[in-house]
């Protein structure tokens, strides 16, 4: 069944190429809708009490390389799998029907979807890497062909950064294999590796850089504003909602999963990194004049919460981080979509130009209302999905990292600040009657936003539906982390234990 989630979109992308141009959108919707429905089936059949991998699939592929087709899903990947299929459907739904080269566009979107699903499901490091890299080219093309005025620059920057990200990830994987003398890239066989702590730290560091670029975390974020801003709305939804989650998933799955000791050692630094990312993202967002760029920077801040939750190594913190991945995916998708609608109707994204969009007759009152809700959700207002995940993260991390957590709480306040700035200037005030002849917002414009809004509200008032899927898995992940002496500084770890390799320490999982 899991293979279907990968291959239906990939084969669908090929099928769409054979359809007439006018049917490409419908084809995309049907295929992505089917994948989403299938992911819901997986969701419904998922055993909540089982913390391990389920729905396993295995086909021997290139065994001499240790590369096999191994798929499985656990609580960590399940929610992201569903998020991926949902946002792919939403992205296609939000695409303008008259988009140029529709077959290629929808085909690439489906290719991304299949690649991301493959990455979430892969139980082989090399297989993960293949899927991880598979979405690179489609995203590059989606940005460079259908992007904004500076799309070439943004796409190239994206390609360079994410390619470097891949290099670090691959280097870490290969390093792990070589150092442990493992004959396979199978994830579970590498779980019990007993590399020296110093080596673990180095390998984890490479993963953190690799996935940190993908997420992105400060200071590896510089590609994000350009890419998010230049990407068209559906692509921005996928970039923020799905691609960034590939990075956080990678950090949790491989960083925390494969190097728990190193993770525990680095946790205070990760928490500091998270706090810096949160504060930087929020402050940079406050300084923006372009609302899409503001939302893009908000994403950097919100990714910091996920890292903070993971760094806390508490059950609450980690489950909150996974919940934040989902909540952030939904909220960011909503915000990018609404910004896209505003840009399409008003023809502008500048804070200094936009005004009075809440105007009930000539403005965009429904879109503005949803933007207010999206801003509230992003700022962590109770009753919405963002609050639950952030609250869990803070609850989990405060006892371990009180200062970093308090900084993150301040970051939440700053999120409210920039969203108040955005909403106050964009939605309220006086609509300029010299320019306000905007096209009306149709129902088809509202539907994607309403779907996302309904989910954000539902998960906000029924949070168990957000955390129940990953709770067992995340609890087990935290339990697997050995308790280290917090007094040993990381430099000492590196200095004392050196980088020596102890052969034969690989312990099969």
């Amino acid at each position: 069944m899991l293979s279907l989630l990968i291959w239906i979109p990939i084969l669908g992308a090929i099928a769409i190429a054979l359809l007439p141009q006018s049917r490409a959108r419908l084809g995309g919707l049907v295929i992505s809708g089917a994948v989403f429905a299938l992911s819901l089936v997986v969701l419904s059949q998922f055993d909540l009490t089982n913390a391990g991998f389920q729905f396993r699939e295995y086909f021997a592929w290139i065994e001499t390389l240790g590369l096999n087709y191994e798929l499985a899903v656990d609580g960590l990947s399940l929610v992201l799998l569903v998020l991926n299929s949902l946002l792919t459907f939403i992205a296609i739904l939000t695409t303008k029907p008259d988009i140029e080269r529709p077959r290629l566009f929808y085909g690439l979107i489906l290719l991304v979807s299949g690649g991301v699903a493959g990455a979430f499901l892969a139980q082989n490091l090399l297989l993960f890497f293949l899927f991880y890299e598979l979405e690179l080219v489609p995203f590059y093309l989606l940005i460079s062909i259908w992007g904004g005025a500076k799309r070439s620059y943004a796409a190239t920057k994206f390609l360079m950064f994410t390619a470097i990200s891949g290099v670090f990830v691959l280097a870490s994987f290969l390093g792990l294999i070589w150092l442990t003398h493992s004959s396979t890239f199978a994830y579970e066989s590498l779980l019990g590796q007993t590399l020296p702590l110093a080596l673990q730290v180095v390998l984890l560091g490479m993963l953190l850089v690799g996935f940190g670029i993908k997420i992105p975390l400060v200071p590896f974020h510089t590609w994000l504003p350009d890419t998010y801003v230049e990407a068209s709305t559906p692509v921005a939804i996928l970039l923020g909602g799905v691609l960034a989650k590939l990075g956080t998933y990678g950090i949790f799955r491989f960083g925390l999963g494969l190097f728990p000791e190193a993770w525990a050692k680095l946790a205070p630094w990760l928490a500091i990194w998270a706090a810096i990312s949160i504060m930087y993202g929020a402050m940079a967002a406050i300084a923006q004049k372009d609302i899409k760029r503001m939302v893009a920077y908000s994403s950097i801040g919100h990714m910091g919460y996920i890292l903070l939750g993971g760094a806390s190594l508490t059950a609450l913190g980690v489950v909150g981080a996974v919940s934040q991945m989902v909540a952030h995916g939904l909220i960011l998708a909503l915000l990018f979509y609404l910004v896209g609608v505003i840009e399409a109707k008003v023809g502008n994204r500048e804070l200094d130009v936009l005004n009075g969009l809440m105007n009930p007759i000539r403005g965009l009152p429904s879109i503005s209302s949803l933007l207010v809700l999206g801003g509230m959700a992003s700022a962590g207002i109770p009753g919405l999905a963002g609050f639950i995940s952030e609250f869990l993260i803070f609850q989990g991390s405060y006892a371990v990292f009180p200062v970093q957590t308090l900084l993150a709480v301040v970051g939440t306040g700053l999120t409210a600040v920039y969203f108040v700035i955005l909403l106050n200037r964009t939605c309220f005030g006086k609509l300029d009657n010299a320019t306000a002849y905007y096209p009306r917002v149709t129902w088809s414009d509202k539907v994607p936003a309403l779907i996302l809004t309904a989910l954000i509200i539902f998960l906000g008032i029924q949070p168990s539906w957000l955390v129940r899927w990953s709770e067992s898995t995340t609890t087990a992940m935290v339990a697997a982390v050995p308790i280290l002496s917090p007094s040993t500084p990381i430099v000492e770890v590196l200095g004392v234990e050196g980088l020596g390799v102890e052969p034969g320490v690989n312990r099969p999982g």
């Binding site: 009075g356 105007n359 009930p360 007759i361 006086k430 009657n433």
Partner: protein, 467 residues
């Protein structure tokens, strides 16, 4: 500081327009647009250097501030018709309130106009008209009666239910106009009517009427003794109810007739429409403005017809100044912040009238542009409905579209008033004397100076893009 509604640049309105010293000439420019004389001023005077030179040249050629286009004509005539129907209700109810409700301390049913006032014959319409301006009926307009019966709901329900559902003609708008006249009346210094409200004669009349009205009501009589000025002020307000009611009694048939003439193809241009208004203004300028109160079937003359207050000077011009130019900064569509200095300290500097008004509703309250726009929406002619459907957001923002059309139509009315004043006090447009033409030009320039303010919509209405 913007000038007042100057008639001549150096002469204030109050002195220039004194009916005691001015003999009204008949309009000189009654020719249809096809035979309109070419602008003599253009031949004998150098071009104006005024910011609105093009509009001034148009006025000198007998045109209006509103460009002469078929689209503009359709909008303004359609709006006159849509305005005239609720106006037919306004004037009847204003007179009902002034004459019958009067000082009722609990006037819950003042908007429930009795049949007597619906049957009241307009003095300028119908078979019994003193001067028949409109060929239609003298009693309430059929469309108005139908709306009053069924409302927007299109269902016959008790009138109280329609009222509570706000499915009715919004008299609040009419009262707001009345209050603007009352409030600015003190400051404008126009005519004699407002000054008369402070006279001993008026106070004596008011005292007599108040005592008659509250006869047998010791509670109200005691209050009157305690607060006589408050009751007197209420009487003044009632007199302005009557004033505005009598003003609109004329304007309703004027607008109905213009609509009919347009339908018949007899008004074919914006100047035609303006000329009809100018002629109408002169034809009925002498109509008396008075205030009668009916108590137990007996008529009390608070302001008698014999005082000689004339429609043009005591109602029309104060109305234009107070409602078109000034009004108040809190009209429901946009509230200005006095603490932030957005409201001038001097009333004469107010500029919130329809000629300046921002027709866009503000913020999230969902307030329609004005209650008047809501009223007019019910009576739009089919051609205008069709027109609005094809522009902007069609039916969704029709209230704004018609409010902008209303603004255009009021610029046409203001043009008619400016031309009428020029006719009354200055010189014909085809006067051969260049000095006279120069005086006309200075008059026009002084009038248009009032639209130099950035919020004035005169610039906007010059193009069809302003919707």
């Amino acid at each position: 500081m913007p000038p007042k509604l100057y008639l001549q640049p150096s002469t204030s309105l109050s002195t220039s327009l004194s009916p005691m010293t001015t003999t009204l000439p008949q309009p000189t420019n009654t020719a249809p647009s096809s035979t309109r004389p070419a602008s003599v001023a253009a031949e004998k005077l150098p071009p104006s250097t005024h910011e609105f030179a093009e509009i001034i040249h148009r006025l000198e050629a007998g045109g209006a501030m509103l460009p002469d286009t078929s689209e503009n004509l359709m909008q303004i005539i359609g709006l006159y018709k849509a305005y005239a129907v609720p106006m037919d209700f306004y004037w009847r109810d204003l007179l009902y309130i002034a004459e019958q409700v009067f000082l009722n301390p609990l006037p819950f049913f003042k908007y429930f106009i009795p049949q007597e006032y619906l049957d009241l014959q307009n003095h300028y319409a119908g078979d019994d008209a003193d001067l028949r301006i409109w060929r239609g009926t003298g009693s309430a307009h059929p469309e108005l009666l139908e709306f009053m019966e069924k409302g927007e709901l299109n269902a016959k329900l008790p009138r109280l239910l329609h009222h509570w559902y706000h499915d009715r003609v919004n008299m609040e708008f009419a009262e707001e106009c009345m209050r603007a006249m009352l409030w600015h009346g003190r400051d404008m210094g126009m005519g004699l009517f407002d000054a008369y409200l402070d006279s001993d004669e008026y106070k004596q009349n008011a005292d007599r009427v108040i005592k008659a009205y509250f006869k047998g009501n010791p509670a109200m009589m005691s209050l009157y003794k305690l607060f006589p000025e408050m009751f007197l002020e209420q009487c003044r307000q009632m007199s302005y109810y009557s004033n505005l009611g009598l003003f609109w009694e004329i304007m309703a048939p004027v607008f109905f007739e213009m609509s009919d003439l347009y339908d018949e193809g007899k008004i074919a241009s914006v100047p035609d429409a303006m000329d009809f208004l100018v002629n109408g203004i002169f034809a009925i300028s002498g109509r008396p403005i008075y205030h009668h109160v009916y108590i137990d079937g007996e008529c009390y003359e608070l302001i008698s017809k014999s005082k000689g207050f004339m429609w043009l000077y005591e109602a029309a011009l104060p109305y234009i100044e107070a409602v078109f130019y000034r009004t108040a900064p809190f009209r429901g569509t946009k509230s200005y912040n006095a603490q932030a200095g957005q409201v001038p300290s001097e009333q004469k500097d107010f500029h919130y009238g329809v000629l300046y008004a921002d027709k866009f509703p503000v913020g999230t309250a969902g307030i329609p542009p004005t209650l008047l726009a809501q009223d007019m929406l019910h009576f739009l002619p089919p051609y205008l409905l069709e027109y609005y459907k094809h522009h902007c957001r069609g039916e969704d923002d029709m209230l704004v579209q018609l409010a902008v059309s209303f603004q255009r139509s009021m610029y046409c009315v203001t043009s008619a008033v400016i031309q009428a004043l020029r006719t009354a006090l200055l010189y014909p447009l085809d006067d051969p004397n260049p000095d006279h033409l120069l005086a006309n030009r200075k008059f026009f320039e002084a009038q248009l100076d009032r639209f130099k303010r950035p919020e004035a919509r005169l610039r906007n209405i010059q193009t069809a893009d302003y919707r």
